[in-house]
């Protein structure tokens, strides 16, 4: 066993220990005593825990650091280490007592109540049983023939179903496994009348039941009473369901009485306002549409007027041009004829051929012009 596992602060001491040898924090005899620069003595674990929380001496509150703590004089350590203590396993049965510093050795070598590994199977076993044969082998119980580990046999014998047990009513000795069953048939067991559910107050030993039932008025009336009871439960059930239905329905009626007309009015009002809004929108829209139509008409009229005027202007211009062309053509035709007549001998063949071509050309052009005009107008 490890020394760390020994809880020195919970050891039981043989005699009451002088309080001067106790740690003021844990109130137990000092374990691994240390003392501070302010000369107070504590267990080393206790003062370390206290310094984690507050860096002052727990007794006089002077500032204190972990390095201000040093091991106490050996005399103090010896005083507490030689206090006589009970073995930590005293509750399990060990009666050994020794000086505190010997406890560790006792536990690791001698104490019979320390768990060890079994030599054969490695399971846990008390030291006192470790030297013997392996207690973890299965063994047959002589009463119930179950297979049980030897180490558990003692506990098993307290509850073995194969052992005899005494019936608490007739004092008969019966196997424990059958004891429960026996209780349902034991003649001496106290039972109540089979009509107790109907109200019969009788209770007595089972062997007297038949005698009682011969005279029991509840047993006579049993069919009638039972029918009544059945009917009662049926009606109760029905009543309950009906009540539930009523509960479900009542709040709904209340709701419909109060809230629905209100909501209807609200809805109607909402619809009406909505309709009004739509009507107003409609009027506005139709008014805008009329205005737009008029505007459009005006625009169209203006445009067409201007176009007509322009058309008239253009026609006049064309007429003018036509007149001019006409005039020019006539002048030219007349002019060439005149030139032909005047300068025909003097002109070279190339010269004479030149002007005749354009004349033909312009004539055909005029024709086409005339033709186009006819179509246009």
């Amino acid at each position: 066993m490890d020394s760390e596992q020994i809880d020195y602060q919970s050891l039981n001491y043989l005699s009451t220990v002088d309080h001067n040898l106790c740690c003021p924090i844990c109130r137990s005899p000092l374990v691994d005593p240390v003392y501070t620069t302010c000369l107070h003595t504590f267990c080393s674990t206790c003062i370390n825990k206290a310094l984690e929380r507050s860096q002052t001496c727990p007794v006089d509150r002077t500032p204190l650091q972990a390095e201000d703590v040093s091991p106490a004089p050996i005399m103090i350590a010896n005083l507490v280490n030689e206090l006589a203590v009970l073995c930590p396993n005293s509750e399990l049965g060990c009666t050994f007592t020794c000086a505190r510093y010997l406890v560790e050795a006792h536990l690791s070598h001698d104490c019979e109540f320390v768990y060890m590994k079994c030599r054969e199977c490695g399971d846990k076993v008390l030291r006192r049983d470790a030297g013997r044969e392996c207690l973890h082998q299965l063994e047959e119980c002589t009463h119930c023939f179950q297979h049980i580990k030897k180490i558990d046999m003692e506990a098993h014998e307290k509850e073995c179903p194969g052992l005899l047990g005494e019936c608490m009513h007739c004092r008969l000795e019966i196997e424990r496994s059958e004891l429960k069953e026996h209780e349902f048939t034991c003649e001496e067991a106290t039972i109540s009348c089979s009509s107790s559910s109907l109200g019969c107050p009788w209770s007595g030993q089972r062997k007297e039941l038949s005698h009682h039932q011969a005279a029991c008025p509840f047993t006579f009336l049993r069919p009638v009473l039972q029918a009544h009871a059945e009917r009662l439960t049926k009606l109760e059930l029905e009543n309950r369901t009906l009540r539930k239905r009523i509960e479900q329905l009542t709040p709904r009626i209340n709701q419909s009485n109060t809230t629905e007309p209100l909501s209807f009015d609200e809805q109607a009002y909402q619809f009406l306002t909505e309709q009004e809004h739509m009507r107003q929108d409609m009027e506005r829209l139709s008014a805008t549409l009329g205005e737009l139509e008029i505007k459009q008409g005006m625009l169209l009229m203006n445009e067409s007027l201007r176009t007509k005027e322009e058309l008239a202007g253009i026609r006049a211009a064309i007429n003018g041009i036509r007149m001019q062309i006409h005039w020019l053509l006539t002048v030219r035709v007349h002019g060439t004829e005149h030139r032909h007549v005047v300068g025909g001998g003097a002109g070279t063949p190339s010269n004479s051929a030149g002007p005749s071509h354009p004349a033909e050309h312009s004539a055909s052009r005029r024709l086409s012009d005339n033709f186009g005009q006819g179509v246009k107008l």
Partner: protein
Amino acid sequence: MTFATRRLRKIVGALPPGITLVRAEDFKEWQLDIRVLDDNPIYKGKTYRLSFKFNINYPIDAPIVTFVEAPGITIPMHPHIYSNGIICLDLLSSGNGWSPVQSVESVCMSIQSMLTGNTRNERPEGDADFVRSGNTNPRNIRFVYDDPTV
């Protein structure tokens, strides 16, 4: 067995006069009744009940100590005791007031003397507001210890 349990086990036994253990079934909460032993007219003949709540780090951590009500038992009137039982005492604060060398007995005796020395039959200032705030854990409260007279 934890450190706190071991330590608390040592106490059951001799308690100072005027202090009786009422309930100590486990090592989480104890209840003790205390009486003021002198003739202070505010507390004469009355018994009050203290509740100690220990955590696993006791006695390194301070226990939570409050007065509690019970049938026939009220919260004592004192300028440092709120009507919900919370006690304003530097010894019980987790900061610098508590020391691991304190114990249930020493706390009881401190509270006893705090009652004995009191002459004012009144509650702390702002008691109603404090109680209404619903703070029942003294650890969450920052007291200002400014009254050297108690």
